[in-house]
């Protein structure tokens, strides 16, 4: 397989040998370099420029990093304030959704605990409907009727005002 290849490689060499000389000396010419654009800036100026650009870039990076540090501080403060606000909101929500707070609010609004319900089933109505009791000043959590009367007397003297505003609620 290599035989034809070798032959092919040798062929041009033989051809060169075979070429007749055109002159007695090899022709030497001045090779004209390809057109090179001349640098407009002198080298020192270019160096200074590059260096300044580098330094400027470095400065900008530093400013950016330092700026971030300030932003982090500011954002941290903002985040803390927002966390405080959220916590205050959560706390207020928890306080207001607590059963006794709801009961108190409901009583203030003139609501009363529901009487025993009447159920409608396939066998008809189960239970006897009762008229809701008229509102009292205190949540009727107690079971003894006389007890409610006693509590009512004292509760009416206390203003059931808001926690935030110091004024008694309008009645």
């Amino acid at each position: 397989m290599s035989q034809p290849l070798i032959a092919a490689r040798k062929a041009p060499a033989r051809a060169r040998e075979a070429r007749p000389d055109t002159g007695n000396r090899p022709e030497l010419r001045v090779v004209v370099p390809p057109a090179v654009r001349r640098l407009r800036l002198p080298l020192p100026v270019a160096c200074v420029l590059l260096l300044s650009l580098g330094l400027f870039g470095l400065l900008m990076t530093n400013i950016a990093i330092a700026g971030d540090a300030y932003r982090i501080t500011d954002l941290r403060v903002t985040s803390e304030r927002l966390a405080d606000q959220q916590q205050a909101a959560d706390e207020s929500l928890a306080a207001q959704s607590a059963p006794q707070a709801l009961a108190e609010r409901a009583t203030e609004l003139g609501m009363v605990p529901a009487p025993p319900p009447v159920h409608l089933t396939s066998d008809g109505a189960v239970g006897t409907p009762a008229v809701a009791p008229s509102p009292t000043a205190t949540p009727t959590a107690g079971v003894a009727e006389g007890e409610q009367e006693a509590v009512r007397g004292t509760a009416e003297e206390q203003p059931t005002g808001e926690q935030t505003a110091g004024e008694p609620a309008a009645r």
């Binding site: 405080d84 006794q100 089933t121 949540p139 959590a141 079971v143």
Partner: protein
Amino acid sequence: MPRPPAARRTAARTAPRAGASDVRPDRRLRAFVITVLVALSLLAGRLVQLQGADAAELAQAAFNQRVHTTTLYAQRGDVLDANGTVLATSVERRDVVADPSILASFNTRADGTARDESLPQGAAGAAQVLAPLLGVDEAGLTATLTGSGPEDQYALVAVGITPELWQRVSDADVPGITSERTAQRIYPSGSAASTLVGVLGTSETKDGKTIDRPLSGLELAENDLLEGVDGQVRYERSLRGQEIPLGESETTEPVDGTSLHLTIDADLQWKAASAIAAQVEATGAKSGTVVVMDAQQRLLALASSPSIDPSDLTSFTNEELNNTALTDSFEPGSTAKVITMAAVLEEGSSTAASEFTVPDELKRSTKVFHDSHEHEDQQLTLAGILAESSNTGTIMAGEELDAQTLYDYQREFGLGEETGMDFPGETGGILATPEEYSGTQRYTVMFGQGMSVNAVQAASVFATVANDGVRVPPTLIAGTSDPDGNYRANGVPAGTRVVSSQTAETLRDMMQAVVSEEGTAAAADIPGYLVAGKTGTAQRYDIDCGCYRGYTASFIGLAPADDPQLVVAVILQDPKSNYYGGSAAGPVFKDVMGYALQQRGVEPSGDAPAGLPLTWGAEG
């Protein structure tokens, strides 16, 4: 060639000048050089000392000046009810601290004149600025801010203000006013759940730091879970507090505590707590307890009265701290007859319709047992004995079983051992083995004297009957959620069969008669629902005198009797005005159970009342 003469010429020219004035510049120069060299070598020496010998130490000192350590506080886990209502949570609070030595020169220039003419100078001026913000009396605040004199450097101005208020105080820009961060535990449900959830107090460590110290309830029992681990951040900062970019920083993240999700329903808990508190007051009882659980013994409410107000920990008694549902054991009295009846029915020695002729007194061993009231001999069925709560009848039915059999049933119903909830201060009650029985104890245990239980154990017996005879250990904690919010449900404990479902059903039918007109607790009847229950009026063992004094009034019941969903136990210790279980505890049962059925949307009973015969032979 001309060089030698030239050299000579130079020498000749300089020589004459050297003679007189050459010495002084030379010596001056030399002295100068030496001085400079000495100075330089001193500097060099110092340089070597600083850079070489002390370098590490000094760099560390500088680093310590720049570095700042802040504690990152871990949040304690919350306690939530079954619906996510907060029962306990932690919030941030600030303690405002003043430095009177700085405040003495408030609003004062270096020359002693006031910066702001409209404000007084010194502490009085600072007080005028801060008093309206903090909402305190100005004169009092002036005294606080003055401290014990200009050398005083610490005065506590306000405790536990909200971060928002602190922000406004801080914005007022009064020098010498700083704050210390604290965490405060708040309990939105107040005293209604305080004995169950517990309270978190504080105590001081040896080095003067204030740390949390759980005092009672779940706060104490589950402290390891609830408690978080504080972290800290260390970073290099500039003079004005900015973090130095690319400086060294090290953060240890805090680990928040795990939150507890209870089986408790906050609304029901409040209802139970307020109902029992009112009845304790009305009857002049020493304490009162309400237990609400479902048939699978998930506790829905554990209320006790008196209870501590968690927002005011300045004064409280141990009684207010304890949840009597678990920490208080008592002789159950007639409610324990249910166990005797269960054993009798399950062993087949009697049926609900078995006929007994019941006298009002009965001599057994050395003692004569009485019923609660005198009566002629009654012809009662087993159901009638339970409905009338006859002691003598219970002995007649119960003595057909041997002591060991009855004891085994009592154990299987969960008596004589703790409930396994790991509640602080829980008592498992006392249940003597037949070998330990003294005198008449063999008979008294049949009607619930000479043994003691806690309220949850007592309710548990009825829940087992409600659950068709299968006893599931009581649970209080449904699950936990880790700081990332991943919820993990606690496993449901496996149930064990105590009595057959047939026996359980018969017991429920028998107990329906208790709330009927003929029974002992007509006051506990709830319209629309079939209620099965049992009163208890037991003599109360008083530890103070070591004798029996006063009574324990109780009513424990389940509803609806035809499809049991809920169990409510009401126990009043030492009520003064009314000590009968039916009339003292019955109305509370009705109130709480009625509310619970309505709140949980339980369907009314479809079946007709069981109406088991209570007497025999009357018609014939």
